[in-house]
């Protein structure tokens, strides 16, 4: 199975540690990169050494300086949702921000603490060999 490149954008050390710990336990060949803030993430995705692109971005919205929202909009200026899927991670976010994210195009929304099974579902959808509509099975899940 082809290696899946995941970029985790998370400013909190503990959260980054715990999320990576969960992802690593998933039964996929993964290559995990991390970015501590928006600048690092932008540099990785839109900078000179962008190739190869990660297959998936896990994005925390609450970031210092460049917010998750503006980071997402910068990504979407260059890459469409099918080129670079983004999943938003959040503990409790403003519904308005989530609505904005949905409009810009995200593959899903995961609330913290992460449910490993949910994340696994997203990854399975991503690695499915024939993807007529890559994101239909992993539509946005607004908070209840």
């Amino acid at each position: 199975m082809k290696e899946i490149g995941i970029l985790l954008v998370e400013d909190n050390d503990d959260d980054r540690f715990l999320t990576m710990r969960l992802i690593r336990k998933l039964p996929f060949p993964l290559r995990i990169e991390t970015a501590k803030n928006g600048e690092e993430a932008l540099k990785r995705i839109l900078g000179e050494n962008a190739d190869p692109l990660p297959s998936l971005v896990l994005l925390d919205l609450q970031l210092p300086k460049i917010s998750g929202i503006s980071l997402l909009s910068s990504i979407r200026e260059k890459y469409s949702q099918s080129d670079l899927p983004v999943i938003v991670l959040s503990s409790s976010d403003n519904p308005r921000d989530l609505k904005l994210c949905n409009e810009m195009g995200i593959s899903g929304y995961l609330s913290k603490p992460l449910d490993p099974a949910e994340l696994q579902g997203h990854l399975e959808a991503l690695t499915r060999p024939l993807r007529f509509s890559p994101d239909s099975s992993a539509g946005p899940h607004p908070s209840p």
Binding site: N12, D14, D15, L18, R21, Q62, S90, S91, S92, D93, N94, P95, K112, P113, P144
Partner: protein, 515 residues
């Protein structure tokens, strides 16, 4: 009266009805016409009567005198004398012809002027007095009075009088009378016109003032300086205008004051609204950031608890595992409270999309979800069917989850746990209720029930966030309804609530609750 007025034609009738001046003028004119024509008629009648009396008297006298004059001539048969007497009568004015007959009616003599056409003639006849008998003929000569017996007359005279001159005089009299009447009428009309004008002028002026006043000009004054009733009226009118002006001024001032007050109030409201909106925005952002910032560490706490258990569970003893579980449980409790707080806030913010809901089906669905969560509990649900309300699906669901959750929670430990749902009609309102035979509470602390974080039970006994009823109350009040509870410790609690009534729908309109 209208039929008489209609004779004048519609325009004049209208004028007569509308204009005091016209009515006054017409009235006076009619009066003058009536009086003057009455006088003229009386005058004429009297003149005519006097003249006709005079003519009759004169004519009769003329005939009588002629009869006397010709008496001897007729008696003696002297034709010359008869004609002479006749000539004497003919010489009198206006006599057209004179005829003298004997006793047998044979014409003895006649004198006549040529008869004119178009002239009225009056005939006067008289008998020529005769004698009682031939023996008394002597008496005739000495002129003894005739006894008037026609048997004794010796003949008759017939005098025809031409009335044309008399008629002409009469015509002249009539003409004079008519002329006088006409003149009198003309002067009368002029006088009536002036009188009507002078009488109606102040009234017209008052009317004009009133019209001006009606159109908002309160500076007008009725300029009538007479000391009669109209003057009094004008004076009263002027004082009335003054009073109106004063009152209007007061009113305008009050209105202006009110307007200023309104402007100030609006300004204040606007400022307050802006302040409120800004406070609301701040509160909203605070709410999210607070719940994020408070929740994130809890999530980490839980994550590290999991990691600790998974990676080091084997080297910890039972007590250690217990501590870890206690830490995780505490974190969970705090997370639930934060969620409830966020929910409480979101209820206020949510845009409602109300529709008809089958509350009975929703209650059944919520009950089923509780049963699924705790299949070991035996609770009997008694749900009345077809209770329809009009509300926001998500919010009503949330309210039912909390209310049934309480009933479910507080009946814990009862072997005959029963939860009942139904509705009653009372004073035109449809009151829904959820009744349980659970622990109940002391009504002394009723006031505390709906305040967030107020608990009437020990948290170990009946766990919860303490926000549930506050959430329910907000949902009900957002629907414009009411909620109240009745409880008795150890007997149970009944929660009553009123929601907008819904219509019973055919089909699947109300079945979209399964989430």
């Amino acid at each position: 009266m209208p039929s008489i007025l209609n004779l004048f034609g519609p325009v004049f009738t209208e004028k007569l009805r509308k204009s005091f001046r016209v009515r006054l003028f017409v009235g006076i004119t009619l009066l003058i016409l009536f009086v003057s024509s009455g006088f003229a008629f009386l005058l004429f009648y009297q003149q005519y009567q006097a003249q006709s009396d005079k003519r009759t008297t004169e004519g009769s006298l003329m005939a009588k005198l002629l009869a006397r004059d010709v008496r001897l001539a007729v008696f003696s048969g002297n034709r010359e004398e008869i004609l002479q007497a006749a000539r004497g009568t003919m010489s009198l004015p206006d006599v057209q012809s004179v005829e003298i007959y004997d006793r047998a009616g044979i014409l003895l003599g006649k004198l006549a002027n040529p008869a004119k056409t178009d002239v009225r003639y009056t005939v006067f006849t008289d008998r020529i007095p005769g004698l009682l008998n031939r023996q008394l003929e002597q008496q005739l000569i000495v002129g003894k009075q005739w006894d008037g017996n026609p048997e004794n007359s010796v003949g008759s005279v017939r005098v025809v009088v031409d009335e044309s001159r008399a008629d002409a005089r009469l015509h002249k009299t009539i003409l004079m009378a008519l002329l006088a009447t006409t003149l009198f009428l003309a002067f009368g009309i002029i006088a009536a016109f002036r009188l009507a004008k002078s009488m109606s002028r102040p009234i017209a002026q008052l009317s004009a003032c009133a019209t001006a006043l009606k159109n908002g000009d309160d500076s007008v004054r009725a300029a009538i300086e007479t000391s009669d009733e109209l003057g009094d009226l004008a004076h009263s009118f002027n004082s009335m205008i003054e009073a109106i002006r004063m009152r209007t001024k007061d009113l305008e001032e009050a209105l202006e004051e009110l307007y200023q007050l309104n402007v100030a109030l609006e300004d204040k409201v606007q400022k307050r609204t802006a302040q409120l909106e800004s406070a609301n925005r701040e509160l909203e952002s605070f709410n999210y950031s607070a719940s994020h910032d408070l929740r994130a560490p809890l999530t980490r706490l839980a994550g590290f608890c999991d990691a600790l258990k998974e990676e080091y569970g084997t080297i910890l003893d039972e007590q250690g595992i217990h501590y870890i579980n206690r830490i995780a449980a505490t974190g969970d409790q705090m997370d639930r409270v934060l969620s409830a707080l966020l929910t409480l806030y979101q209820i206020q913010q949510r845009e409602m999309t109300p529709r008809n809901l089958d509350l009975s089906e929703l209650v059944s669905a919520v009950a089923a979800s509780f049963r699924q969560r705790e299949p070991e509990r035996e609770v009997s649900f008694n749900i009345q069917e077809n209770v329809m309300v009009f509300g926001d699906m998500k919010l009503i669901w949330l309210a039912l989850e909390n209310l049934l959750g309480n009933a479910w929670k507080f009946t814990r430990g009862r072997s005959d746990a029963t939860i009942e749902f139904g509705h009653v009609e009372q004073a035109g309102e449809s009151i829904c209720f959820i009744r349980d035979n659970g622990a109940g509470f002391d009504m002394t602390y009723y006031e505390k029930l709906f305040q967030p974080f107020q608990r009437l039970h020990n948290i170990d006994e009946f766990p919860g966030t303490g926000v549930g009823l506050a959430i329910v109350q907000r949902i009900i009040s957002r629907h414009g309804g009411r909620i109240w509870l009745e409880s008795s410790e150890g007997v149970g609690t009944t929660c009553y609530f009123i929601l907008p009534k819904g219509r019973e729908e055919q089909g699947a309109g109300s079945r979209g609750y399964a989430q």
